[in-house]
């Protein structure tokens, strides 16, 4: 019981600290996504979208809105954990946690919930921004919420793995720039899978972000390029794998202990 209380207080402390961190530097953490999404909505949605017409029966701006919201959630969840954990390693204040009796599960969930908190906060802010440009409908509220939580969790895990291995500031930018951004753009945020040749349709199925964008689009618009159960299954599968990797790395002390 003592064990449980200790870790509960510890978890609360960690999550609170994570949230205070991204709130303290809100101009770096919350504002940029709002501005870039406003530009996406304005240029791709309003100005160009009117010429593009409809995609799968929706106005283009309506079609891309779920994808853009999902993009913000992905990048912010990832960025929160990768920078928080890497800075803690860099400044060595990670040692504050390692010397303490906190279990590694508490440490892990503290970081993940911090990533979730920022992902969801930015997701909500971006959704508010989108309301200036279009009307949003949510067809399946439960699926929408579930997909947001799972996606945010998955990319928080990804951010942590990146941070564990990162040795320099470059290392925390490489993955977002060279992996995350291309996968997001090619994950069907801006187009329907039907527009691609057969081969590239097949390749797209290897991209995990494709499943998240489509699951989220299904939740909001009720329309998707693939079966929702498949999409949720794939996301869950990735979460389980990355979660186990994180636990293994933290237990071993990779990147934090010598």
């Amino acid at each position: 019981m003592r064990n449980f209380n200790l870790n509960l207080v510890g978890l609360y402390t960690l999550v609170r600290r994570e949230c205070m961190r991204f709130m303290r530097i809100w101009t770096q953490t919350l504002l940029p996504s709002m501005i870039s999404m406003a530009l996406y909505f304005l240029i791709f949605g309003n100005l160009m979208g009117n010429r593009i017409g409809t995609m799968d029966g929706f106005h283009y701006i309506e079609y891309i809105a779920p994808g853009l919201i999902m993009m913000s959630i992905i990048t912010n969840s990832y960025a929160n954990v990768v920078s928080s954990f890497f800075f803690a390693k860099f400044q060595r204040n990670i040692e504050e946690m390692i010397v303490s009796p906190l279990s590694i599960y508490t440490l892990l969930w503290g970081l993940l919930l911090g990533g979730l908190a920022r992902g969801i906060t930015v997701g909500l802010l971006v959704t508010l921004v989108s309301l200036f440009f279009t009307r949003l409908t949510i067809t399946h509220m439960d699926i929408t919420i579930l997909v947001v939580l799972l996606t945010s969790l998955l990319f928080s895990l990804g951010g942590l793995i990146n941070a564990i291995f990162a040795k320099s500031f470059d290392d925390i930018n490489i993955v977002p720039t060279f992996v995350l951004t291309p996968l997001t753009y090619l994950g069907g945020v801006f187009y329907s899978l039907d527009l691609l040749p057969k081969f590239w349709q097949w390749v797209t199925h290897l991209n995990p972000i494709f499943y998240m964008v489509n699951a989220f689009r299904y939740g909001m618009l009720g329309q998707s390029d693939l079966d929702i159960h498949t999409a949720l299954g794939v996301i869950l599968g990735f979460i389980v794998v990355l979660y186990l990797i994180c636990i293994w790395l933290l237990k071993k002390g990779t990147g934090i202990k010598t």
Binding site: R92, E96, V99, P101, L102, K257
Partner: protein
């Protein structure tokens, strides 16, 4: 009545290290199987030259370094088997600053308490107490980056105590700290020790070990080469050296019965003699030769001399 009773009770070991070995990746052997024990309530010094294995030892005790083999137990709880309870007994002040410089002083302290499961209200009370004692309460709302070097060090001491550990480990706490602060830190640590906290410190300042500590271990090249009390260690010194500042210059070292002399410069004479010889004898010998002395001083810190001798032998 209390004294015999206290003696009768076998004092618990605050720290008990058995056959601790550490080989780093790449093959560097940092610890070659050391045994070390520190009694509850002790003020213990771990001395050793750079690279001897002090920080590795502390790293393993505080879970920052994975050991290769051996065991560490803290107040009877094995660090591996009962890690959680063992860790709650330990507070640590590392050699280098390891806090988030953008966090406020008060947040650093209260969050640290949180990692030990202390609820925020109690953590806030403890934080106020230790920050006040260490003269940082006025700075509580400042970011850590704004503090001076000495304040940062005191911040780390406050942070290490906020969960009220039974054993405090300090890795070179006074390195690079001015004399005034060093003295006030000594006083603070003595007070904490009087309140029952076991203290282990590593230091380069042998004067620090001599004036603060009871127990002492000397580590060199990954092995413990002495593990005793400061008093017993100093008793091993069987000779003393003094430097006499002379009133009139000499051209060569005089011959004095029963002692060794060495002329450092024309006005400084070094005299070494066994403990069996007393100072009166030396002054008599000097007077016989009409050598007048203005002042005299100890050649080196006694412990330092012993330390160098031990390390060189090993």
């Amino acid at each position: 009545m209390t004294k015999p009773l206290k003696l009768a009770v076998d004092r618990m070991k605050a720290l008990d290290i058995k056959n601790l070995q550490k080989t780093y990746q790449g093959g560097v052997v940092a610890l070659k199987g050391i045994d070390l024990s520190v009694e509850e309530g002790d003020f213990f010094a771990l001395l050793g030259p750079n690279g001897a294995g002090k920080t590795t030892t502390i790293g393993i005790i505080t879970s920052l370094v994975n050991k290769t083999s051996g065991s560490v137990s803290v107040f009877g709880h094995d660090l591996e088997v009962e890690s959680e309870i063992a860790k709650t007994f330990i507070g640590v002040v590392p050699q280098e600053f390891n806090f988030n410089i953008f966090e406020r002083v008060i947040d650093i302290i209260i969050n640290q308490a949180g990692y030990y499961g202390i609820p925020r209200k109690r953590a806030a009370d403890n934080a106020e107490r230790y920050l006040t004692q260490l003269g940082l309460w006025d700075k509580r709302n400042q970011q850590a980056i704004e503090l001076s070097g000495g304040m940062k060090r005191r911040l780390m001491i406050a942070r290490s105590l906020v969960h009220e550990p039974k054993m405090l480990i300090l890795d070179e706490p006074t390195a690079g700290v001015d004399i005034e602060l060093r003295r006030s830190m000594w006083k603070f640590l003595k007070d904490i020790n009087h309140q029952g906290v076991t203290i282990i410190l590593t230091t380069h300042y042998l004067e620090e070990a001599e004036s603060l500590c009871r127990g002492i271990a000397i580590i060199d090249k990954g092995s413990i080469i002495a593990h005793t009390t400061v008093k017993q260690l100093l008793a091993r010194l069987n000779s003393e050296s003094f430097i006499f500042d002379l009133k009139h210059p000499l051209t060569k070292a005089p011959h004095l019965v029963g002692v060794n002399t060495l002329l450092l410069d024309e006005l400084s004479l070094e005299i070494s003699f066994p403990k069996s010889v007393n100072l009166n004898h030396i002054f008599e010998e000097l007077s016989k030769q009409n050598i007048e002395v203005n002042s005299m001083r100890n050649k080196t810190n006694r412990l330092e001399e012993l330390f160098i001798r031990l390390v060189n032998h090993a």
